[in-house]
Subunit: 466 residues, 2 copies
């Protein structure tokens, strides 16, 4: 909040300094346009209202659910109502998985109902519940090192706790167990795989997320306990008595029939180089447990609001601005894969892109991934953002975040905007990812940054590949 | 944390000041004994370990459940292991209620599963689910003012949101709707009563708690939504379209057969006036959804640890210290009622009492309820606590908190210790009331305060009635 206030009140002074030192970068006209857009975004509730609409009128929108189809209709209608010129969908196929019901209990030495969620793609318990002893592992490496005989007929439990960090890097250290833990455990004879949730909160919400079996290995149920329930299990294990757990799950495993997914794409057409597109990305799908306000309702709100703010300017941007609301990000960037496959012959027209898929914090860093000559130009834009607390990274290897990383691999230059992600994994993939968690002040600042970025990229004439 | 550190490091200096100004109050010997006990409590994990044991080995312990019976056995064994001389139970009868299963959905204009809990004593939905339109009320008074015709066939919804305050006084303003809202709504023809949870958090946990029907009114299902789900409902209502909700509940209502409950009482016998008892109270029962770490595992931990610390002193206290772990507090102080009925002829021997049933904060105030002469003496003890951040209230009307209030009404002098309760109603009566929420540093300080209080009351020779 403090930073926000300072940014607003000091804009006049600091932007004059910036102007004085970089008059050749952002000319006076561009500077005034960016100021106009920034002010519009900072004084508008539009991005929040879009998130409110999505989470209230659609809610959770997991691939394979009716609500996911409804979200596509919602997005098409919302883009049209916000002033996009062209709106279309691009359909493809995705595997289907149904969560079903899950009951997890501690059976011995004490009896407790435990809060848990099946991991995405997990199979269920078939005909009979599983009741088995827990084999306790510190982390995935310890599980990998276990002898096969020690897991036969047991439930493998991995206790690793994710660390809270501003850049969210604790996720990378923890998520491996979620993705591959069940496959490793199954190879060693385990009958189920249980882990401490990949999350930084200490509330009784389990964190779901995608997992994978190996093609040739046995498929065993895979689930995550809430952090307090993992604590309880570990306190029971400290008693040095056998600890047994019961699991009943009707999770479907990956189903044979695929479902149709759709990227929703909207454009605000450029006035001079309409074939050159600046892309803003977010993902429209969510997990099924919360309403997906943070992941990734915020991205939907920021990108759609950015185009609406730009549409109110006296003149159109020179290049086209394209918002891509990707499908099926949560189960492996499937919408982004389809987008790249479908547009591979015109990736050269993708001038630069940025995604928003990291929640609630205020942006503190702009990291470029572009040609060396373009770096000079993006630094001028970064200087414009400096009074809002944004620094430019010294590296030049950004490939785009989340879905947009696949476009980056296909050659699209990128800017990665980094928000403070300290609280992101408190809500990530939980029932608790709801509208009330949205930080409305940070959202306004971040919307202002994406709006001005899109305008700058579409009007500066920079070739970001050079 | 800061206050804690200061208290420890400044004890030497400040206690000398106290000693210099109040040499007649706490003599040197008493002062040294209190310091010894304070140090023991501050450097011990015992109260935490007791809570860990209760929540891990027993867990939730709602009246009428097997775990509640197990908690009585646990408490008897724990008291004996901690050095209590006499331990016994006093059984009585309580009404039984079973939560059953609850499913709540928004059906129109949007479809959502909602997080909700039945209120204690609520009936279920009998043979068929309820599907009805929501009638929206700001608060209980607005519901009371409604015309009967407006509620016929509808679900009454009360939106009142509890305020967060240090003294927890927002609870009193909000809880009326929980207790009597369903009775009011039923009289006006409503088919169900739904409210925003009485709680200060914004997590997807509903807060349960007891409700009452009027003897002569129709019994309708009563439930509370989590705060984020209440937000969602209210955002749907803002669309000015009819909002309908579906409720399926197998809650039992109050059952005809009663269940046996038991206060668990333990004493450390006084050396000189064993018939005079200083009472420390907490309640052993909890709601069924969390593990009751905060409500009231902390009270169990503090009071049991206090006696254990006292049992390690070179001499016994002159008066007896009695810990009463009350039964069935959550459904109307039923254990306390039985205690007062059973001990009414020897209440004069109850010298003074204090309860702990307000969670996690550090104590900042001592409020007396005693004879005017005794006030001078308790002020000396309050001065001893002053370096730990405790002020003495200017009033003298404390009757005891929670269960202990009934002993206060029956004539027992009281001290009420007030902790910072700002976060108490984040966890109160939710699934999220678990061990990890316990503030271990505050717990040590509060244990030190209760331990020194019990010692002071048992050894000062003060008649707190005079």
């Amino acid at each position: 909040m403090k930073r926000f206030t300072n940014a607003i009140f000091s804009t006049g002074i600091i932007s004059c300094l910036v102007f004085a030192t970089s008059v050749s970068a952002l000319d006076e006209k561009m500077h005034a346009q960016l100021d106009e857009l920034k002010s519009a975004a900072i004084h508008s509730n539009l991005s929040y209202d879009i998130i409110e609409s999505l989470t209230t009128e659609v809610g959770p929108r997991m691939v394979g659910t009716p609500a996911e189809k409804k979200s596509v209709e919602w997005a098409v209608a919302k883009m049209k109502s916000l002033g996009f010129d062209k709106v279309w969908t691009e359909e493809s196929q995705a595997p289907d998985w149904q969560r079903g019901e899950l009951k997890v209990s501690l059976l011995a030495p004490f009896n407790h109902n435990l809060v848990a969620l099946s991991l995405g793609n997990s199979v269920g318990t078939d005909t009979a519940p599983i009741e088995a002893q827990i084999a306790h592992f510190r982390d995935l490496d310890a599980l990998k090192a276990a002898d096969a005989q020690t897991l036969k007929g047991k439930i493998a439990y991995v206790a690793f706790a994710m660390e809270r960090r501003k850049d969210g890097s604790g996720y990378g250290e923890a998520v491996g167990a979620r993705v591959s833990g069940a496959a490793v455990a199954a190879e060693k004879g385990a009958v189920a795989f249980v882990m401490r949730s990949v999350g930084t909160d200490s509330h009784r919400f389990a964190h779901t997320g995608v997992m994978r079996y190996k093609d040739d290995s046995k498929q065993i149920p895979a689930l995550a306990l809430s952090n307090p329930d993992a604590d309880l299990l570990e306190n029971a294990l400290k008693r040095n008595q056998p600890v047994t757990m019961g699991i009943t799950s009707t999770a479907s495993g990956t189903l044979k029939e695929t479902v149709t997914i759709a990227n929703v794409i909207g454009e605000f057409t450029g006035s001079e180089q309409p074939d050159q597109v600046v892309t803003l990305g977010a993902h429209l799908d969510s997990w099924d447990v919360g309403t997906g306000a943070i992941d990734d309702g915020i991205g939907v709100g920021i990108t759609l609001a950015a185009v609406n703010h730009i549409s109110t300017m006296a003149q159109r941007p020179k290049r086209t601005i394209r918002v891509i609301l990707f499908a099926a990000e949560e189960i492996g960037l499937l919408g982004a894969k389809d987008y790249v496959a479908r547009h591979k012959n015109n990736m050269d027209n993708h001038i630069i892109g940025a995604e928003w898929d990291f929640g609630n914090g205020t942006i503190y860093k702009l990291a470029p991934g572009m040609g060396e000559n373009a770096l000079v130009e993006i630094r001028k834009f970064a200087e414009y953002l400096a009074p809002m607390g944004v620094e430019m990274a010294s590296t030049n290897n950004a490939k785009g975040q989340s879905d947009m990383s696949l476009l980056g691999e296909a050659g699209q230059p990128a800017v990665n905007f980094y928000p403070d992600g300290s609280d992101y994994f408190d809500y990530h993939h939980t029932e608790n990812d709801t509208l009330d968690k949205v930080n409305q002040e940070a959202l306004k600042i971040n919307t202002a940054i994406y709006t001005t970025f899109a305008w700058y990229a579409a009007n500066s004439g920079v070739d970001f590949r050079k």
